[in-house]
């Protein structure tokens, strides 16, 4: 996991929420790395902490949530390294990083775009802020980028407001906004979940094109294994705030090691296969009621052993660039983070 060429490295990150009902360990000691130009997938079900991971990397966690511990190391093009976790969320340095170096694409573009400004103004504003361009230059840049993300006649649509765009167009506009300042890392949080399947295909294709054109690193967060298979080079599988397996995408699908990963794969229906599905029993537990220092998947796990209810498994090295957090692999080398 410790690669020298990682552009972004998350180490032992913990983001906790102190709620009225107790402490929620939304992200609990996760580590992951992103290399230049690659797509890293984070896949998991609701409440697994994948969105909080994204917000943590953007340093956008709002109270009652807080990054409690860990490092988020960003290595910029000139070789300097910044620990995002140590920056003030609203500080000058963080604001300059956001957009300029790391940008985010949200699931619901309608909530991420301001309804009272035109699409063009919203893109131009960011460009002016970060790139120190004049209003006119920023507008030209906005038209250019809108054209790039496939919005027809961008010079006309630039003055439209978000509600005048269709869902797919809005998502394109949001991608344009994210890319307008030429970031190096883009975090996409369920970018296609709210879209229809034909539009989803368009957006995924667009993201791939943009990636190869701009040499982007993408963190793709989704619950959809299809999207992961299509997009990601490496995959992190998350469950209840922890990464339980990390491997090359091919290994995740053809050589899964964690019972949860296997369970997920067996849960999804495949076209042309009418055999009965093999679901994972039970449901994702409520993070509030979980005891500490156990394997959280144990109650649902068909392979659960005595030890699973007694201690939390460490991350084992189970193959080349393949790690798995499961007692089944006791005896393998433990990965130090």
């Amino acid at each position: 996991m410790k690669e020298v060429d990682d552009i972004l490295q998350v180490r032992n990150l913990r983001t906790y929420f102190r709620t009225d009902n107790g402490l929620v360990r939304a992200v609990d000691r996760i580590s992951l790395g992103v290399r230049r130009g690659e797509t890293v997938g984070i896949v998991g079900e609701s409440g697994c902490g994948k969105s909080v991971t994204a917000l943590s990397i953007m340093n956008l966690v709002r109270p009652p949530g807080r990054i409690v511990a860990g490092q988020i190391l960003y290595r910029s093009g000139d070789g300097s390294t910044t620990d995002i976790a140590k920056l003030h969320p609203n500080g000058r340095q963080m604001r300059s990083l956001r957009g300029n170096n790391i940008a985010m694409i949200f699931q619901e573009p309608m909530t991420a775009l301001t309804p009272v400004y035109s699409i063009g103004d919203q893109i131009a504003e960011g460009v002016m802020l970060h790139k120190k361009l004049t209003r006119r230059q920023a507008r030209e840049r906005a038209i250019e980028i809108l054209g790039k993300v496939g919005i027809p006649s961008p010079e006309k649509r630039i003055d439209d407001y978000p509600h005048q765009f269709s869902g797919g167009m809005r998502q394109r506009a949001m991608i344009a906004m994210a890319l307008s300042c030429e970031p190096e890392v883009v975090i996409a949080d369920e970018p296609t979940t709210a879209l229809d399947v034909t539009i989803e295909a368009q957006i995924l294709r667009l993201m791939k094109e943009m990636q190869s054109q701009l040499d982007l690193s993408i963190i793709m967060i989704t619950h959809d294994l299809g999207v992961i298979a299509e997009m990601a080079d490496r995959v992190n599988v998350m469950y209840t705030g922890k990464i339980v397996e990390h491997a090359q995408t091919d290994d995740i699908f053809y050589n899964p090691k964690h019972p949860y990963t296997l369970g997920l794969l067996q849960s999804i229906p495949t076209i042309g296969d009418k055999r009965r599905l093999t679901p994972i029993r039970g449901a994702v537990p409520n993070l509030l009621t979980l005891p500490e220092d156990v394997c959280y998947f144990a109650p649902r796990c068909p392979y659960a052993m005595e030890i699973c209810a007694q201690a939390e498994p460490p991350m084992y090295q189970v193959g080349t660039a393949h790690q798995c957090k499961c007692w089944l692999y006791e005896g393998n080398e433990v990965v130090a983070v």
Binding site: T198, A229, E230, F253, I271, D273, I280
Partner: protein
Amino acid sequence: MTSKLLEICGLKKYFPIRRGLLRRPAGYIRAVDDVSFFVRQGETLGVVGESGCGKTTMARCVLRLIEPTEGSISYWNRAGEQIILNRLNRQELKETRRDIQIVFQDPFSSLDPRMSVFDIISEPLRLHRIGDHRAQAERVAELLELVGLKAYHMDLYPHEFSGGQRQRIGIARALALNPRLVVCDEPVSALDVSVQAQVINLLRDLQEQMGLTYMFIAHDLSVVEHISDRVMVMYLGKVVEIASSEALYLTPKHPYTEALLMAVPIPDPRRKVKRLPLEGAVPDPSNPPGGCSFHTRCPYSTKVCRTSEPVLMELEGEPDRFVACHHASEITLTGWAERLSRG
């Protein structure tokens, strides 16, 4: 071939768009526009389509939760008599409703938050005055076990359950009156992947045990294909293709079906296919394009597609296969098998 249970003929539902002070209709959204199909006893008819294609409105018309603008909905009851659902009076409708039930998408809003699970599941029994309190409690316990919950859950409130468990409660309520047809409106879309499979399996088991007929609505093609015997594809308020699910994914006959099949992301990294996604978005349903409503996005469209509307017709030599495309017999479309082998 088994007999028909439900037949819909020329169903239309237009919603007026009201504007101005007096709210006069300034136009109509053609949510369901001349839809005809049938459902056979004991089968699962899947309905797929993107948002705004009218599948949910169609389902609600079938249940008479909204009044259709035009068309007839026939239902054959246990005695084999044909009943026109949209001509029933209130009392007759109440009786017939025992046979047709619905399972909703959102496991949160489909259960009244102020009612206990017992109240929720026994509501249909109380409505139809079936049994006394004790008999109802027994029935509720039985239903809970049937859907994989425990009898003691009946004293709890919906907020104490997970999404999947709530969906099971919703299914138990739908089954309380021993229905024959259950309309499932996106029943697994809001659930986590691992829980989705549990509910799909449960629905299949129940169908087997109780001889249920399903109309299964979803936007996820793989889920629909998995559970359905026949699949109906809708686009912009119209049916574009009906076929057995196998025929549909192996040899699609409508360009839109092909596009859907090509767009589904495959959970298999070794089958990354270079595909050409469909251009553009679904047109505005209040102002649909003339001719074939799909022609604006269709790669095969010709002049005739822009001018005349294709009719849903049974394909020659292929019984039970309905397509609404001028070029259905001329064009060869890519099916699922070819999509996979291309990779």
